[in-house]
Symmetry: C2
Subunit: 902 residues, 2 copies
């Protein structure tokens, strides 16, 4: 920094040293005030001390040379601009001193009002405000704010004095304090200051100002601010600016007042000025909530000219910032001052509507609209929400918010019970320790799922997310009492049939039946936005769909295909499970093939429906993945059945059950996640692969004969090496040849490898020698890379997140450093040798916006997620496409082709 | 190939066209014969047709131009050199035709003797051999060898004719066939030839030769040869040479004979000519085994001059090749001919002795000696071996040879039973389904372990290898019969107390009590070799040692420190397990600390013994690794105890057991390998880490006060990220500071991270910011990278190995492509930013020679393996150091320092 650098930037009354772009130097507040001056918006004049001064002060405990003189000059100018005099008892210039870093940051000093006021100035201020009460109130506010922030007097000391006074006067509100009361209060505050600092409250305005500025600088290094910067990667060296601004008073009578406003309705997004106004009041009074504000229409009636001016300014600000604004204003003696304007906070629905309408108004481009809505907003718009405002909800416990939305229903403790109660029209919440594949029918009919074990990718969470159903998992404070058939939730006992309300967005569990705001079904604004998203995206979004119903949902939501169909979910249907079990228990290959032949038409029928629904978009069908023991009943259940059959002396049945038990024992694994599953099953039981490939291709042929365009993609799970993939591709091709030969008909199909083992990522380029596409299974890849079993990790993941060892749950947001490194390596090496290999992601992360950004940066061709997350993912891919370098993907060509055929 | 290239290389009788280095062109046999000619060793003269001719013939189905003429010229020369005439009935020149590729290769045509003989030549041959019987026998041998190899007549056809003849004559041995019999046989063979080829046996010697040569060429492409080349990466294009050599006859009377010899004893390695001799016989007679050969000393008595010549030649060959030789010779009418010499096959013990003695004889260098002994030889020398020769062993089944050596003992079915029987002096073999940590005491007393489940890195295998004890795992053909308390092994029933013999080198399980050859205890040759190894190695070898006893073994075997002490093994001792369980079941941190305080002195005592034994070498102690439930009794056991206590109405006990059961339920995990273990325990139960660090450092202080030099290294298991390691290093340092403060004394210690998760390998350089050393846990790293649970993988690993999807079991030999890639990445990035970080390997692979080669190539500083594998690993690291570029390791400096202090 040279001696010639400018340290002070003036604003207001037609003088502008800076502008809105000088965020780094002037901070958010200073830049905004400079910009409003530029726009000729009436603001109280003032000046900003730059962040550079702060940086110098922090490093050298002194201002850079010349700053004091610059401040003096600025104060001289300000006297002129404000028509008040600095350090003059007759017409004192009072200012506010505020911090303003280039980024919004909690933990720093906020505001000291009325700086420049001293005992000598009280008389003059009484004249200006109309009463000594006003002057004293202003002075005690200064003492309080200055005392706590500059002298570090505990806030409680001032609060206590205030409360003692109110008690002794037997009054409830500050507003009821008389002039005499306030004088007593000023004296009490003075004693507090003396007690804490050893000196009376400083009377020299210059000293007040300097101390206030230094307090702002010092607050940059408060523990909370440092902690916030660390968590948000904000550089320590940035520093804060200080804004010094002339005070204006909205409490000078009926032609004064203060208010806040929005350029659009923050709740619905409707285009109309919206806000509140409090006559004869200061900003703090609105915040304090002691008086009820009036709607802005009241201002229109009381001060039509001011209202008109405000409406014009609001419109001007929105036009200028090209974004809905929320602003603060004060009217002093009929004169309007804007104090602040910033991007308006808004609900999800409002965000969507504002973005879309601003495009039709020609204010912003479609691209801008797409980047202004957060993918979470889309999910929120599409999910029902608990209405927590209308009641005082009794929170019982908190679990992991693993699938968004909300649910209100009567609890049941088993899937069968859920089905029974739902059949009689009840809304049920399935409450269990964990769910298994056997509980799918219960999950399907429940309004929401609550479990006491399991994490974000536990069975319940994955299935519920897939169904777009609210789910809370791992709620630890739930304890079962098997004797009474009840549960204790947060220490309170519940029986089946009692009501609970689940908030899937926060993981909170409430007692009783809270009101629900339903999801918006028909949202034209959202439809429009998503249409734009799909046009802007260089990465396709497919859906994970296991059933024909899922496929219909996916197609309705404009999925670019099915990225993952987990065939095993079809195996759990009751009419099939019987054959699946018989197949597993088969004592010979012939017997197994016999059972598989019974399953084949059922699988084929499912696949036909998928192809029919999705034509002409591709459908990726994954071959059987889970270890076979998952299809057999658990040992405990079998032991119970054996005991029962023995009691009833059904010896044949006992023998049969014992045989099943033996097989369960044989198939049992210590670490099933790393066991005999995935393509390992295809190598040891080739007949299963053959049946599935046959079902897929026969289904495709049959749908093709209906005149449709099925696009079958066969995905091989858990591939670990090139040799393995080569062998499997040969097996698939051989089966395909046999099917085509016997049908005298041919249909194109492709083979892909699931990249879900670290080794597969390492050898991905060699695996790509034998496939047309690869799909990252990021769930398993995360498990293996971290060595975290998602079924078990809950016991320590929480403490890892708390201790900051993990920044985010790696099962929700992709771990870029570890898992991401493997993915990057795989994509890079594949692209070198196999530029035409299609690359997708089909793990849970495919629906997570933060992860999608990363996947897009890798240049994948598509992500695939559960139908419920599709809309949010479509927006996220569009945003990634707009903000990142376009990836060299095959996606565009494919969409265009499919669209042409559709 | 140009026209001027030489295709025929002559040898013998002073003429030499080639030499021993022309392996590629002349093949092994041709080069050897050329070399022997160079050495003036008497050999039957002949010539070699080069591999280039073979290559041309294979590509063009014709010889290169000029070859026929060269052969004619060579035959002319050979007539002179041999004093016989080609294609001359009066004095026929007979030759052998042999294949000889540059590398030894099974599956190719071997030999046709007596080529050039026809019916007209029989009379002359009768004269030369002294009988018509001799001539006819020579002719029928030609017909048989020629018929099977040139005409592809099934060998059985000739055998049948021979057997029919012997049956009709009622004689047992070929030698008993009369002249007339042989004439009948020749006629019978003639009929066979005609029947298979449509023509009589070829009488033209030139035609015979050409057909024999082509048959050799053709055999290069036999299925077996191709398969062998594929498996051994031998290029198809190499081709084979053909050696044509004058026949000599050892069966021309008492001053003729044939034999084989070794320059050193192939069994013991002792330096003395050793071999067998058969008077009046041909080479085949030795192989046929119909006559008992005489020791070479007999030759010395019968033909002292020949023996003297042979001894001189043997010594000359050994000196020339600088390697023990095995050679074949024939004496024809008192004239000695060498037929072949090659590197002698030998036992492991002989290999060690020969290598060491050749150094002291000045024949080879120490480096050469080190590279000539295979690491497996060392293991074999140090293990007892089953003597399978003395009996006809009855093999029951085969499992996985997971720990070498052999064991003979009476079977027991539980660890407790093993302890009880061993206490009464019995040799026991522990036979179970699998072993767990609870069985350690049984494994410790057993002679060998046999399990029906589990792979190469199952619990039983790992523990047994660590103890240097024979172990066979995953022997599938073992079935328990709980009713009778017996097992079926290979279909045969066995009760406890019956004898089995285990061959840990092959995995074979034999019935009964086979004789055992004990391991050599004091082998000075081995000691010497290992001393050289340690001097030559740029990579240290440490031992994995969990107990003070292990440490003593390691120190005796010159381990360069302890690379891994698994503290949990100390937790399983019965007097400690009680406190470990109480610690786990503690209902509060205070209670847990109380129990930990009881464990502390026990751990400290163990560590003191380790430090005392290993001073001044480093001792790496790993913090607690397994999930806590491993220390609790299994659910089934508890249920049994609860039932028993209920029957006896010990209600207090029932309540206590129920509490344990509940905790077991809570701690139970779906995938324990990826669960709450390793450093995750230290983060959730910091008091366990504190106790262990305290015990380690207090032990080090105490041993240091004895005047010794303990070097404690604290290893943190299962690290996944830099943040985690940082936190843990802080916790360790804090505890250390507390220990040092309270003892008013300080001792250096280092902290290390175990790299056993893919993620840790990816972020190794960042983890290295917080540690002084890292140690690769290759077992877990292999599990996670492949997604193979070693406890479960057996079900498909076998079929993967069979199908060639896996080239080797990745739990035995490091997977260079996948796991190795991660290791390479980790080492490379660590070395860039942290050149002083020590890098080690402490997985099971640290004892595998093939893996050691790879680790050495990465430049690791040390490998650590079980004490039983130490010697082999020491040799393997020396070999790697001698054969690879020296790695930039810290190892040397460290050894030298430790040696100076020792």
């Amino acid at each position: 920094m040279t001696q010639t650098a400018q340290h002070i930037y003036r604003f207001g009354n037609g003088t502008i040293d800076g502008n809105g772009l000088m965020l780094d130097l002037l901070g958010g507040k200073g830049a905004c005030l400079a910009e409003m001056t530029n726009l000729m918006v009436p603001i109280p004049p003032g000046f900003t001390i730059t962040t550079a001064v702060c940086q110098h002060w922090l490093n050298n405990a002194a201002y850079p040379g010349g700053v004091e003189a610059e401040i003096d000059a600025a104060l001289s100018w300000l006297q002129e601009a404000s028509s008040h005099l600095w350090n003059d008892a007759g017409n004192p210039l009072l200012v506010s001193v505020r911090s303003g870093a280039p980024v919004s940051m909690p933990g720093m000093m906020d505001t000291i009002l009325n700086v420049g006021l001293n005992e000598q100035g009280l008389a003059s201020l009484r004249e200006r405000g109309g009463s000594m009460r006003f002057a004293l109130d202003s002075y005690r506010r200064l003492m309080q704010m200055f005392g706590t922030t500059v002298f570090d007097v505990p806030k409680e000391a001032f609060d206590r004095a205030m409360n003692q006074l109110k008690q002794s006067r037997n009054i409830a509100s500050d507003a009821a304090l008389s002039e005499a009361d306030l004088l007593d209060l000023v004296n009490a505050y003075q004693r507090i200051v003396v007690q804490h600092t050893g000196s009376p409250f400083p009377q020299d305005p210059c000293q007040q100002l300097k101390m206030a500025v230094n307090a702002v600088f010092r607050s940059w290094q408060s523990g909370r601010a440092q902690c916030y910067r660390k968590l948000n990667n904000i550089p320590e060296s940035m520093g804060t600016a200080v804004t010094v601004q002339t005070m204006v008073f909205g409490n000078r009578g009926d032609n004064s007042g203060t208010g806040v406003g929005f350029t659009r309705n923050p709740s619905t997004g409707a285009r109309a000025i919206f806000g509140e106004f409090l006559p004869n009041a200061q900003g703090e009074d609105i915040v304090a909530g002691t008086r009820t504000p009036l709607p802005l229409s009241e201002l229109q009636q009381r001060m039509p000219a001011v209202y008109q001016q405000l409406a014009t300014i609001a419109s001007q600000l929105e036009q200028h910032y090209r974004e809905a604004q929320d602003f603060e204003f004060t009217v002093e003696n009929g004169r309007l001052f804007l104090l602040q304007t910033r991007t308006a906070k808004r609900t999800a629905a409002a965000a969507v509507r504002i973005a879309v309408e601003m495009v039709s108004e020609g204010m912003i481009s479609r691209h801008e609209a797409l980047t202004r809505v957060r993918p979470e907003d889309i999910t929120a718009v599409l999910s029902p929400q608990l209405d927590l405002t209308s009641d005082t909800p009794m929170q019982l416990t908190q679990g992991l918010a693993t699938s968004p939305g909300a649910a209100v229903g009567q609890i049941v403790f088993s899937a069968d019970e859920a089905v029974a109660r739902a059949a009689s029209g009840k809304n049920v919440i399935l409450l269990t320790e964990e769910t298994t594949a056997d509980d799918i029918h219960g999950i399907a009919v429940a309004k929401g799922i609550l479990t006491s074990r399991g994490g974000a990718t536990s069975h319940a969470a994955v299935v519920a997310r897939g169904m777009g159903k609210c789910c809370i998992t791992g709620a630890r404070d739930i304890h079962w009492d098997s004797h009474s058939g009840s549960v204790q939730i947060g220490g309170k006992r519940f029986y089946a049939g009692e009501w609970l309300s689940l908030d899937g967005t926060t993981g909170n569990v409430f007692e009783g039946r809270l009101p629900l705001r339903p999801a918006s079904q028909q949202n034209l604004f959202l439809e429009t936005l998503l249409q734009w998203a799909s046009e802007s995206s260089s990465c396709l979004v497919r859906a994970n769909a296991d059933t024909p119903q899922d496929a219909i949902t996916a197609r309705t939501a404009h999925a670019a295909g099915i990225g993952l169909c987990r065939t095993e979910h079809m195996f759990f249907a009751p009419d099939r499970l019987e054959h699946v079990r018989a197949m597993i228990l088969a004592s010979s290959t012939e017997e197994r093939i016999q059972e598989l032949n019974l399953l084949l038409p059922m699988q084929q029928q499912d696949f036909e429906q998928l192809f029919r629904t999705m034509s002409p978009f591709p459908v990726t069908i994954r071959l059987l993945d889970p270890p076979l023991h998952e299809f057999l009943p658990p040992l405990e259940e079998l032991d119970g059945e054996i005991a029962a059959a023995s009691r009833e002396e059904c010896w044949d049945h006992v023998i049969q059950l014992r045989r099943i038990r033996q097989q369960v024992e044989v198939l049992r694994e210590v670490n099933p996640m790393m066991g005999h599953r995935g393509c390992r099953l295809s190598l040891t039981y080739p007949e299963i692969l053959q049946m599935q490939v046959r079902a897929i291709l026969q289904a495709a042929l049959s749908v093709s004969n209906e005149g449709l365009n099925p696009v079958p993609e066969i995905l091989v799970p858990l591939v670990a090496s090139e040799e393995e993939m080569k062998l499997l591709a040969e097996m698939i091709d051989q089966t395909a040849t046999a099917v085509f030969d016997s049908h005298q008909q041919h249909i194109p199909y492709t083979i892909g490898a699931m990249i879900e083992l670290p080794r597969a990522a390492i050898c991905a380029d060699r695996i790509a020698n034998h496939v047309s596409f690869v799909s990252f299974g990021t769930n398993d890849l995360t498990q293996m890379t971290y060595g975290f079993s998602r079924d078990d990790a809950r016991t320590y993941l929480d403490s890892y997140l708390q201790k900051g060892v993990l920044k985010a749950d790696p099962f929700l947001t992709i771990d870029r450093e570890g898992v991401g490194h493997l993915m990057e390596m795989a994509v890079r090496t594949i692209r070198i040798g196999h530029p035409h290999t299609k690359i997708g992601v089909c793990g849970e992360h495919g629906g997570d916006p933060e992860s999608i950004k990363f996947f897009h940066s890798l240049g994948v061709d598509y992500v695939s997620c559960s139908p419920a997350r599709l809309a949010a993912a479509q927006l996220a891919t569009a945003q990634a496409s707009l903000l990142q370098q376009p990836s060299s993907s095959l996606a565009k060509a494919e969409t265009e082709l499919a669209a042409a055929l559709a």
